[in-house]
Symmetry: C2
Subunit: 263 residues, 2 copies
DNA sequence: CGCAAGCTTGATCGCGCTCAATTAGGGTGG
DNA sequence: CCACCCTAATTGAGCGCGATCAAGCTTGCG
């Protein structure tokens, strides 16, 4: 996939139109969702939309789909038809390197969208794997853009979500380009903490859904270093760690570890 | 800016509408551009559009703007109104760290777009600095989305450009997360080589517009390491280097250095 | 009970960072 | 014109962070 890095960033674009019947052929459970009735509506796609616009979204009747722990929702190279909103559980996004190792590019929790990287050329650029039993809404991208054509607000929302993804990756690049192991892990934990808080969970105590190896891949370090850094934070009195259970004891201290280099 | 990393990735969105008179107030030179007459039209924004759609783009009459070497086109935090297409010259995008150091997040050549990260929240998330004397088209984003509302193809083009940016950054994350110094510099040079070729220049011999420090910042290594790696490639018979002038002697060898780890 | 997977911890090594000296090129002013 | 300064780049020496290799522990599952 890193071939994208040595491709010219802009080449001839061919507009693929997805047939309107595509939804019927997809492996989506019969259950359908209305955004207006969803408990995640303030976090997820419809966030910021007016009542009228949300009703239009409702008309799309997104199909739900369950993905068991360890299963993939889509793989890199798969034809791009849907973007997915996480309803429950946690996913990782990853790319596969030539030698078979994986590079984790993100973690996704309830209310977050996945798959926007597929818009670029009609195929998913990464794989999405469930880290626990999960449920998603499958949003047919072609229908979404149809709808967006008649609602500039919805169009803005989709654009902003994509732009936000760009900004998020900027931040991660900065992390990978200029931070040491402690700063990286502190940034990761603080980010997780905020996202837990936004979802109504404790911001100071939570269960990690991902392995040390997955954290390490995401942060650009080896699993042993992740483990050692957890231990170091414990010895500094910042954390209590038991396997995947984490309690943040001194959040200001953790922020200091993070801000030691980056604002 | 890395605060984005510890922000919940989705929060309440407010739709800002840009007044239609905004263009008149902007610091754009009176010269106006029509995409259909531009020599870059196959690389740039209108790439893939039909004649009719290109005429609609023409109606926006993008203003041109010259930016002298070392000057910024926009800075992080600036109000987002325009995206910019490079007409000539080279830019770097960068973020500023708390300690004043900069982190380069990209280089942009003729035909490439800049500023899409500003869509996320109405402010530019990065700064754009000219590495030589340059000229850009200033594309009023609000007008572009207006136009896109009536042309699904144009909407797709804009979405794809944003998605492509996401994919590009995925690749860079992979580079920063899992490659060593030689692999990073090889990837960088091969990418540059392809982009030069796409613009009709020699793919094997070109002038670097950026300093060793800027390359290093972009690739997550120190300028001394960049310099040493250039020397190493020279000793391996892959390159001839004289300051910023580079000639690729053995492109297959360079690809091997790149593919040693990543496909 | 045995086996495998995930995590921790220790010991050692090496890549890339840091500090430092040198050279070359460009701009400026006397 | 040269003296001077400033910046960019190269190269060397030494060190430290994080990778690598390895051992041991816990937990879960057949």
């Amino acid at each position: 996939m890193t071939t994208a890095l040595i491709d010219a960033p802009q080449r001839t674009i061919r507009i693929a139109s997805v047939p309107a019947t595509v939804r019927a052929a997809s492996p989506v459970a019969p259950l359908r969702t209305q955004c207006s009735a969803c408990h995640l509506k303030d976090l997820c796609l419809p966030c910021g939309l007016s009542g009228e616009e949300m009703q239009r979204l409702d008309s799309l009747m997104f199909g739900r789909r369950k993905v068991a722990a360890g299963q993939t929702l889509y793989r890199e190279g798969d034809r791009f038809q849907f973007i997915y909103a996480v309803r429950s559980g946690t996913f990782k996004s990853s790319l596969t390197l030539a030698d078979g190792r994986e590079q984790v590019s993100g973690f996704h929790m309830a209310g977050e969208l996945m798959g926007l990287d597929g818009v670029a050329n009609g195929h998913h650029a990464s794989s999405a794997t469930a880290l626990e039993d999960t449920e998603v809404c499958a949003i047919p991208y072609a229908h979404l853009t149809e709808l967006a054509a008649s609602s500039s607000n919805l169009q803005h929302v989709v654009s902003r979500l994509m732009s936000r993804e760009i900004v998020r990756e900027h931040s991660l690049m900065m992390l990978l380009g200029s931070m040491n192991a402690e700063e990286r892990l502190a940034a990761f934990l603080l980010n997780l903490s905020q996202r837990m808080k936004a979802r109504g969970y404790s911001s100071s105590e939570f269960h990690l859904r991902m392995s040390r190896a997955e954290i390490g891949s995401y942060l650009g370090m080896k699993l042993e270093t992740v483990s050692r850094t957890f231990s170091a934070f414990h010895q500094q009195g910042l954390l209590e760690v038991d396997k995947r259970h984490v309690r943040i004891v001194d959040i200001e201290g953790l922020q200091r570890a993070f801000e030691s280099r980056v604002h």
